[in-house]
């Protein structure tokens, strides 16, 4: 395997808070890697380290063959970044934002204009090209933000929760664009809170919890560990009595229901897809229930 990103023992603390506690990770060139984790797991901090915004306390981080600490300039010449906060210029129009970025990425004035039109068209922003980015809707601003990191082809693209806050249709469109990046040979490193998104897009998933990678694998690997469906039994006033993971087959479902039947007299059965919480609970075990998924914590920049 040829790695585009190679992390070894990366640690980072903000004050007392150990945000990243020894990250080891390899991302193969030309693939989509999804870093999955709840709020506060350290996803944004890791993206900020890889995109040279934040330094490491210890360990090494190599992006495209260049060390992010000792050779940040080379790393910056390789990457495109779309962060969580839409980093667009609200006073400039969509087209002007793109042209400016094109010029800063080494395009000539003419090339920047041509590329701007192409990418606006590709992301469905042509109609808004001459309007100021400040009046865009949240979804449009995110697409423009993405467009800004796509105006030139970068070997490696970082996307920090690219679809958070988007409606279903925009999310699907964005997924198609991200897949087309891989087709063009770009390595995509994205973070997400949604299991479904990681499942849909990623060649490999890394699960981040409490500043550590607690599992890596293909989506199929991870799902094999959690089951693909959860059977819930709820009692009076919707109190969850028990939930059982199943493999989604008829036989599995019957076994699960038999299991519940033996234990409880009555209740309402529902079947749902496993959530991120389920995956984390499975992986971290019951002992970590209170510190794992779902615990609200503030995401550090």
């Amino acid at each position: 395997m040829i790695a585009a990103i190679d992390l070894r023992g990366v640690r980072k603390a903000f004050g007392e808070h150990q945000v990243l506690d020894g990250i080891d990770l390899l991302v193969e060139a030309g693939t989509i890697f999804a870093l999955l984790g709840p709020n506060g797991a350290g996803k944004t901090t890791l993206i900020n380290i890889l995109s040279t915004l934040v330094s490491t306390d210890s360990g090494s981080a190599v992006v495209g063959g260049a060390d992010v600490v000792s050779d940040p300039e080379s790393v910056r010449g390789l990457i495109g970044v779309t962060g969580q906060s839409a980093a667009v210029d609200p006073v400039l129009t969509g087209d002007e934002n793109l042209r400016m970025m094109g010029r800063l990425l080494g395009l000539s004035r003419r090339e920047a204009g041509v590329r701007s039109r192409q990418i606006l068209d590709q992301l469905g922003l042509s109609d808004a090209a001459r309007r100021r980015a400040g009046v865009y809707s949240g979804g449009m601003r995110r697409r423009l933000d993405l467009a800004l990191s796509l105006i030139v082809t970068s070997p490696i693209i970082f996307l920090d929760e690219p679809t958070t806050g988007l409606d279903v249709r925009s999310r699907r469109e964005l997924w198609d664009i991200i897949r087309s990046l891989r087709t063009a040979g770009t390595t995509v490193f994205l973070t997400t809170q949604y299991l479904e998104e990681a499942d849909e897009l990623a060649d490999r998933i890394g699960m981040l919890s409490g500043g550590r990678i607690i599992a890596t694998g293909t989506p199929a690997d991870l799902k094999a560990q959690t089951g693909v469906q959860m059977v819930e039994l709820r009692g009076d006033s919707d109190v969850l009595l028990r939930e059982v993971p199943t493999d989604g087959s008829l036989r599995g479902l019957r076994l699960a229901i038999d299991d519940l039947d033996a234990e409880f007299d009555d209740g309402e059965v529902t079947i749902r897809r496993p959530s991120l919480d389920d995956v984390f609970l499975t992986l971290t075990g019951p002992a970590d229930t209170h510190t794992g998924a779902g615990a609200p914590r503030t995401e550090r920049p």
Binding site: N48, T52, R76, L92, L104
Partner: protein, 262 residues
């Protein structure tokens, strides 16, 4: 193994500066409120001083000649103050973080704001001077005097803009940046801008005589209206240079702190 990919080369000379100057000029043109403030407010002040207070200050009607150099500096100060807000805005919106992940000199963002402020304020100064001539300002300056006066005004705008840029970096938010700006705008009132320093009470005179604006105003007044220059130009240039150097140094430190690696 890790693959070594080909990094984008550095940009041709001054591409960042050209790009960011164009950006800041667009911002200036589109921020209509600030633009109008920068031109209309000094005009109103000039009308106020010439026609409302002017008669009481100098009954012969010659006050317009005295006050215009002060109004010019006041105008430059107003226009430059919005640079603090522009810079604080950039720091807050996250666009600076995007620039920092790119292979560019991101500090050129500041150059963009400073040059745009210079252009903006020189135009505003031109309008104020034209209006002053309209209300009876009669400078006796030759071409060389005019050139020297404009050069001093430009140097002052540059110095004070850099100071406001550093204030914008140092303040936590655009709102705070706006507040700090106003403190500095009171300086012209305690200088020789509107009344001769001799007329001030003793305890103010010491400050007014030795603060930076007085020699700058006296230099412009001397060049345009022929009052005695004495050593004022040297002091004026010295003050501007000192403010510029200190502000650039402060701004550089603040930029590293705000937009350096955390």
């Amino acid at each position: 193994m890790t693959t070594s990919l080909a990094s984008r080369p550095s940009l041709p000379f001054a591409t960042e500066e050209a790009t960011f100057i164009a950006r800041s000029l667009r911002h200036s043109v589109r921020n209509i409120d600030a633009l109008i403030m920068a031109i209309v407010l000094p005009l109103l002040l000039m009308i106020l001083f010439v026609f409302v207070f002017g008669g009481a200050i100098d009954e012969t009607g010659g006050y317009v000649t005295y006050v215009v150099p002060g109004i010019i500096l006041l105008c430059a100060g107003f226009g430059a103050a919005s640079t603090a807000v522009d810079v604080a805005n950039d720091m807050e919106t996250g666009i600076i973080d995007r620039f920092r992940t790119m292979r560019i000199r991101s500090s050129a963002v500041l150059t963009g704001h400073v040059v745009a402020s210079l252009v903006r304020n020189l135009i505003a100064t031109g309008i104020v001077i034209a209006a002053a001539i309209g209300v009876g300002f009669r400078p006796i300056a030759g071409p060389a005097d005019w050139f020297a006066a404009v050069a001093i005004v430009a140097l002052y705008i540059l110095a004070i803009t850099y100071l406001f840029a550093a204030i914008g970096l140092a303040s936590g938010s655009p709102e705070a940046a706006n507040g700090y700006g106003f403190i500095l705008l009171f300086l012209p009132y305690v200088s020789s801008a509107f009344v001769p320093v001799d007329t001030l009470p003793d305890w103010l005179r010491g400050f007014a005589d030795n603060q930076p604006l007085t020699p700058i105003i006296e230099t412009i007044r001397g060049l345009l209206t022929g009052t005695d220059l004495e050593h004022q130009p040297v002091l004026a240039i010295g003050w501007c240079a000192a403010i510029l150097v200190a502000s650039v140094a402060w701004g550089t430190v603040m930029f590293r702190r705000k937009a350096g690696r955390r």
